[in-house]
């Protein structure tokens, strides 16, 4: 198959030391912390009470609104609290979480396993995927059912299964593809049905030959599924870049893959779909790579959701030295976290503890020399230097004119910048500024409406008062007249 090339990109050191290490199941920890918001969209709404005993796979919180995902219990135990707990988020702010004290019995909830998932309709498949709480497992955590539903609105001609895993260090998808290719293929077939589409490509970077051959063997019987080796280049695993590589089509600015008939799902999402439809298992665990120079024995672990990152590190023998930086996710796009007391959620693909030697020395930023390396490297074709200059001077609207909203925050520009300018951070800041302005505008529009409504209310009340007074006066007059009439009658008689 002919491949296309996206502009720019880089090839950072891979550091994929855990490629050969099989997936190890992580024992159930004593306590699990399940944030109600593990996905893009509205937070889930708890349906259990504190003190209640829950079973493994039981629904803890239901989805709220069209773009949301439910949360299920990763093990059986008692709900000890529904309280704020540190979120796996760069802000380190707390978020409402359900805390479960595990009882170690691992008792499954009675779930109804569908007869044959291939007899279900397209709509039923995406409903079940939604009910299982499945979100995009590549990191963005967008509810998968919403994306599977797009088949009814758009005509989807190609489903791309993203096995790129272009981030350094991470090998969780690689191991999943090597060890469980059968279920992945099964999941892809179900996704094809949901999307009413009959062509799927599994794109795997060429640095994962074992995964490629395992998948090729597994999909031999299914001509609609094809494994494609793609060049090893960051950010290959980014949705838009992957679509471009495989189809040569560019997703329009501000648009979705579905606009050009392509949907991208992660391999781990395909696996989760298969687990949900074949075995009735909701998304309660995921594979996480624990790696980095400060980790004693790096590993690929299958972790119950809600386990603290700290416990993963301990399971891997702890830290060999104080890490220079701790991350959730990969080193390019992952979230830097101040401490490891944060839970593993649906979108966490790695826990990294990087030592000083692994960190590229980051001298303090120097002035931009306009060398244009960021422009060459930007996979979207933007001008990072121009956007950053505007963001720095608080002119975010001007940055918008340079295509700020098309920035995928991949970090390639910051990676290549010889002046160590934190370009990506400037773009994150600028995007936040725009969001803040939008919210402020909404609030002031609302205030204006409220003020108007109050004016209307005051006028109405005044009018009502007047009316009431007039009515009372009329009544009084009528009474008086009646009395007078009666008197006159009396006098006359």
């Amino acid at each position: 198959m002919r491949l296309f090339r996206f502009k720019g990109g880089v090839h950072p050191d891979e550091h994929k030391v855990t490629t050969e290490l099989p997936i190890t199941p992580m024992p159930i920890p004593k306590r699990l912390y399940l944030p109600l918001q593990q996905h893009i969209g509205a937070a889930a709404e708890p349906v259990v009470k504190v003190g209640e005993r829950v079973l493994k796979g039981q629904l803890l919180a239901k989805a709220k609104g069209p773009v949301s995902a439910p949360v299920h219990a990763s093990t059986s135990g008692i709900v000890t609290a529904i309280d704020e707990f540190t979120a796996p988020h760069p802000s380190g702010l707390p978020v409402k979480s359900i805390i479960i004290e595990a009882d170690g019995k691992e008792e499954w909830v009675d779930n109804i396993i569908p007869i044959d998932p291939f007899k279900l309709s397209a709509e039923e498949i995406s409903i079940r995927v939604g009910e299982a709480g499945i979100v995009g497992m590549g990191g963005a955590a967008f509810p998968a059912a919403v994306k599977l539903n797009l088949g009814s609105k758009h005509r989807i001609h190609t489903l791309i299964i993203n096995g790129g895993e272009c981030e350094p260090y991470l090998t969780c998808d690689d191991r999943l593809m090597q060890e469980r290719p059968g279920p992945i293929i099964d999941g892809i077939r179900l996704m094809l049905m949901a999307l009413q589409c009959n062509q799927a490509y599994i794109a795997v970077e060429n640095n994962k030959p074992a995964a490629q051959s395992a998948l090729r063997d597994a999909c031999e019987a299914f001509p609609e599924i094809e494994v494609i080796g793609v060049p090893t280049r960051y950010p290959m695993g980014s949705e838009k870049q992957m679509i471009q590589t495989l189809t040569g089509l560019e997703v329009p600015a501000g648009g979705l893959g579905a606009d050009i008939g392509v949907i991208v799902h992660n391999v781990a999402t395909a696996y989760a779909v298969q687990q949900a439809l074949r075995h009735g298992r909701p998304l309660i665990s995921r594979i996480v790579t624990v790696s980095g120079g400060s980790i004693k024995t790096p590993a690929n672990l299958e972790v119950p959701l809600g386990t603290l990152a700290e416990e993963l590190v301990e399971f891997c023998g702890g830290l060999s030295e104080t890490p220079k930086r701790q991350l959730l996710g990969g080193p390019m796009m992952g979230t830097s976290i101040p401490h490891l007391d944060v839970p593993i959620v649906k979108g966490s693909n790695g826990v990294l503890a990087l030592s000083e030697t692994e960190m590229r020395l980051q001298p303090s930023p120097q002035p931009c020399i306009r060398c244009g390396r960021c422009v060459q490297a930007c996979p979207v074709g933007l001008l990072p230097l121009e956007m950053a200059a505007r963001a720095r001077n608080g002119k975010v609207e001007d940055a918008l004119d340079f295509g700020l909203m098309d920035c995928i925050a991949c970090g390639t520009c910051s990676y290549v910048c010889p002046a160590s300018i934190p370009l990506t951070q400037y773009f994150n800041f600028a995007k936040g500024e725009l969001a803040r302005k939008r919210v402020e505008q909404q609030k002031s529009d609302r205030t204006r409406e409220l003020a108007k409504a109050r004016q209307v209310r005051l006028e109405r009340e005044a009018a009502e008062k007047k009316e009431a007074a007039a009515r009372r006066k009329a009544e009084r007059d009528a009474k008086k007249r009646a009395e007078q009439a009666a008197k006159e009658k009396e006098a006359a008689s």
Binding site: S91, S364, Y426, F429, E440, S444, T447, L450, K452, R454
Partner: protein, 180 residues
């Protein structure tokens, strides 16, 4: 017959006179004032120091009042006004702390209904001798309720940042060119 003609002529003449007077002595109403007023919150909260939004709009248009005068409008309003009036302003000077909201200390509230009569956005719910409550989604933080409360049971507080409201900070390290 004479009377009809005389009255018609008189009517036409006086009408013409009035029409001319209306043209000649027209009161100049600056359209920009109305435009500015449409942008202001319209709550007449008085935080700007002018008696209500129309007066503030007038001051902005003709007396050179600063575009940053409206705290409930915030930075986005200041920017819109600056654009309308063609002036520049110092955005950093506006960051005088996060927005505040009102909150009723329930143990002190006597249910006097004074505050909710005063609230320009009807954000306070209550009834005589019932504890009042501020609906925070509707509160603009103007502080009018705080002023009228006889028991000082209304406090202005800074609401904690929630996850969806959190924004990436601006990179701190200033880039300084080194002297060669």
């Amino acid at each position: 017959m004479h009377a009809i003609v005389a009255l018609t002529v008189l009517g036409l003449f006086l009408g013409f006179l009035l029409g001319m007077a209306a043209k000649r002595f027209k009161v100049e109403n600056d359209p920009i004032v109305e435009e500015i007023e449409a942008q202001l919150p319209g709550t007449n909260c008085g935080q700007c120091g002018f008696p209500g939004c129309p007066a503030a709009a007038q001051a902005l248009a003709s007396e050179g009042a600063p575009v940053t005068l409206c705290p409930p409008g915030g930075k986005s309003l200041a920017e819109t006004l600056a654009k309308m009036l063609g002036v520049s302003f110092d955005a950093s000077a506006m960051d005088d702390g996060p927005a505040k909201l009102a909150r009723v200390k329930e143990e002190l509230c006597i249910g006097c209904v004074k505050c909710f009569r005063e609230c320009p956005t009807d954000a306070i719910v209550g009834a005589p001798k019932q504890i009042h409550v501020v609906m925070q989604q509707a509160c603009t933080g103007c502080g009018k309720c705080e002023e009228v409360c006889p028991t000082m049971c209304i406090e202005m507080f800074v609401p904690p940042t929630t996850l969806p409201e959190w924004r990436w900070p601006k990179p701190q390290h200033e880039v300084v060119a080194r002297a060669a």
